[in-house]
């Protein structure tokens, strides 16, 4: 293992949502660890559990089993006030630029919010801090008095980022933070996030369904499907040496902004089998072009295969052989 330290982790976390229409296992014994200064991207479609994992890490939800650790403290055993203090170290930027800001507050008050929550400094020092944060995210003093509805999506997202940095956190969770932005604005905000990370030595947990964004920002990428991490590794592992059929399918499905080839490979319209009940065996089976009819995939328990120090996957018949 490298010498960088683990600043936060989910260890064997399981979280099931109970509902009248049946239980949904959002996370199935998932383990994630964030290393100081590095960016981990959780990639998956809706229902993969990536958002649940983020919420649990932020202490906004509790796992049914397993533990959550932030900067050495186990979240499960903490009292309210201790948890609250720990929040100084881990902040969040969410997807919708407008709804994550209080529409009745002005920008200054929004960014000041976390400082007020902990009674940091006095009015003057707080104002200075707010202005410096504002400038750090590329906004101007004239924006202080504005309300969210008077700003563009990109500007709102910058305000959200400024707010997240107000308490000088070590970790920032970015939950689809650029997904709701226009393409050109997305590029700006990604650049900003990168700069801030490099400048402040931040650790990012980046939740996204967009492989391109994950590729650009992340040092490590974990691909999730229905509550499990099916493949994990660095850029090369996941994008070039992909092992899991789901990762391969995802990469093939992403339409690239390049002139189309003469013969576009259309994925055969694969009918999805009804999803099996949660078991230890593969949950991707119903969509897998490789294992859908194989007995082993239906019955055998899955465990992680480790291909290299960085690369893990969970598949009986990985692409390119075992």
């Amino acid at each position: 293992m490298s010498t960088t330290s683990v600043v936060a982790s989910l260890n064997n976390v399981t979280r099931t949502f109970v509902s009248k229409r049946g239980d949904v296992k959002a996370l199935d014994e998932v383990s994630i660890s964030l290393q100081q200064g590095k960016t981990l991207a959780l990639v998956g479609e809706s229902g993969s559990g990536k958002t649940t994992a983020a919420r649990i890490l932020l202490g906004l939800d509790q796992p049914d089993s397993g533990s959550v650790n932030i900067l050495g403290s186990e979240l499960g055993g903490l009292k309210h006030e201790q948890m609250r203090l720990l929040r100084k170290s881990i902040q969040v930027v969410q997807q919708d630029p407008y709804s994550q800001l209080n529409r009745r507050h002005c920008v200054e008050r929004i960014i000041e919010g976390p400082l007020l929550a902990f009674n940091v400094g006095d009015k003057i020092s707080r104002r200075d801090k707010v202005i410096s944060l504002l400038k750090a995210v590329g906004l101007e003093e004239e924006h202080l008095r504005r309300r969210p509805h008077e700003l563009s999506g990109g500007q709102c997202q910058r305000v959200a980022i400024a707010r997240a940095l107000a308490l000088d956190p070590k970790i920032v969770v970015l939950d689809e933070a650029v997904s709701a932005l226009d393409v050109s604005v997305r590029a700006q905000v990604l650049n900003l996030l990168r700069e801030l990370r490099d400048e402040l030595g931040l650790t990012y947990l980046f939740i996204t369904h967009d492989l391109g964004v994950a590729h650009y920002l992340a040092d490590e990428i974990a691909v999730m499907f229905r509550g499990r991490i099916v493949e994990q590794g660095d850029r090369k592992d996941v994008f070039i040496d992909s092992k899991h059929p789901y990762t391969v399918d995802l990469l093939k499905s992403v339409p690239l902004a390049v002139p189309p080839d003469e013969k576009r490979q259309n994925n055969m319209d694969v009918q999805t089998l009804p999803s099996p009940n949660p078991t230890d065996a593969c949950t991707y089976r119903s969509r897998c072009t490789v294992g859908r009819d194989l007995a082993q995939c239906a019955s055998d328990k899955l465990t992680f295969t480790k291909g290299s120090p960085t690369h893990l996957w969970m598949c009986h018949f990985p692409v390119g052989g075992k």
Partner: protein
């Protein structure tokens, strides 16, 4: 003219942007209905100045006089000037109604917000209590309370206020629950805000407009309730007279001297209409803001 303002703005003398914002609010708030409300309020407050006669003075004029220049609303069976009585009566009715509205707002908001943030069995309990309170026939409930403590300027607002609070509670609860599901609340929680501070500084400003609507509608109901209670004799007793009491006295003589009842009833009607239409106006402007933004 705008150029003059711009010039002053640049000098820093006045903040044009701020003024425009205030003007917009004023234009919204000072609608016709508000002018009516304010007009009535001022008239009744200024009763000592405006009333031409002492409302209690018997034989200020000949009895049973119809509306005339000397007596705008006429005189009653004891010769008392009805215009003065309506003005003074309004003071009492409005005092009770406003006090009741404030009580309903405070009680209802606390009730609803508590239910909204706790959820679980506390929520269930509080809301079922609200439902039950709403199910009680208001007049009967008032009857029981007032027969126990007597009717006064203290007891009436409490009773009326209590009767109006469940609707406010339900509205406050649903507003709080909706807001608590919003992203900015997640962000505020993640920022380390304590729950109480969250409610006070983040959520309340967002439900304030809805509470304002409820306030207005409650005011209308409060006026109605007070008038009703006094009319059936459960409210303000003679020789003091609120509008309801005036209507009761007038009712006895309704066939021969219809103006006894007419003027206080008119006053009640206009006041209720004004409060309701103001509340409606705010609600409409809230809805339009929600759908356009």
């Amino acid at each position: 003219m705008t150029q003059d303002f711009e010039f002053l703005n640049r000098l820093g003398v006045i903040n044009v942007a701020g003024l425009i914002k205030i003007a917009k609010v004023v234009k919204q708030r000072f609608s016709f209905s508000v002018s009516i409300i304010l007009g009535i309020l001022t008239a009744c407050l200024a009763a000592p100045l405006l009333a031409p006669y002492d409302p209690y003075k018997i034989a200020a004029g000949l009895p049973f006089l119809g509306p005339s220049r000397a007596h705008l609303f006429g005189t009653d069976d004891l010769g008392r000037d009805l215009f003065s009585r309506v003005l003074y009566g309004g003071r009492i009715t409005l005092l009770i109604a406003i006090a009741a509205t404030v009580i309903a707002l405070v009680l209802g908001t606390l009730w609803g917000v508590m239910a909204g943030i706790r959820r679980g069995w506390v929520d269930e309990f509080l809301m079922r209590t609200a439902d039950s309170t709403m199910a009680i026939p208001q007049i009967l409930f008032a009857l029981v309370c007032i027969s126990a403590v007597g009717a006064s300027v203290i007891s009436l607002p409490l009773v009326v206020g209590f009767l109006l609070s469940p609707t406010t509670a339900r509205m406050a609860r649903s507003a709080v629950v909706t807001e608590l599901n919003e992203d900015y609340v997640v962000a505020a929680t993640a920022s380390g805000l304590t729950r109480n501070r969250l409610i006070m500084t983040e959520v309340m400003p967002n439900i304030a407009p809805q509470l304002l609507v409820q306030l207005s509608i409650n005011a209308a109901s409060a006026v109605m309730l007070e008038a009703t209670l006094s009319f059936i004799g459960l409210g303000i007793q003679p020789p003091n007279a609120s509008w309801g009491t005036l209507m009761l006295q007038g009712y006895a003589k309704i066939w021969n001297t219809s103006w006894f009842v007419f003027f206080p009833a008119l006053a009640v009607t206009i006041t209720i209409l004004a409060f309701n239409s103001y509340g409606e106006r705010i609600r409409v402007s809230l809805d339009s803001r929600k759908s356009s933004s």
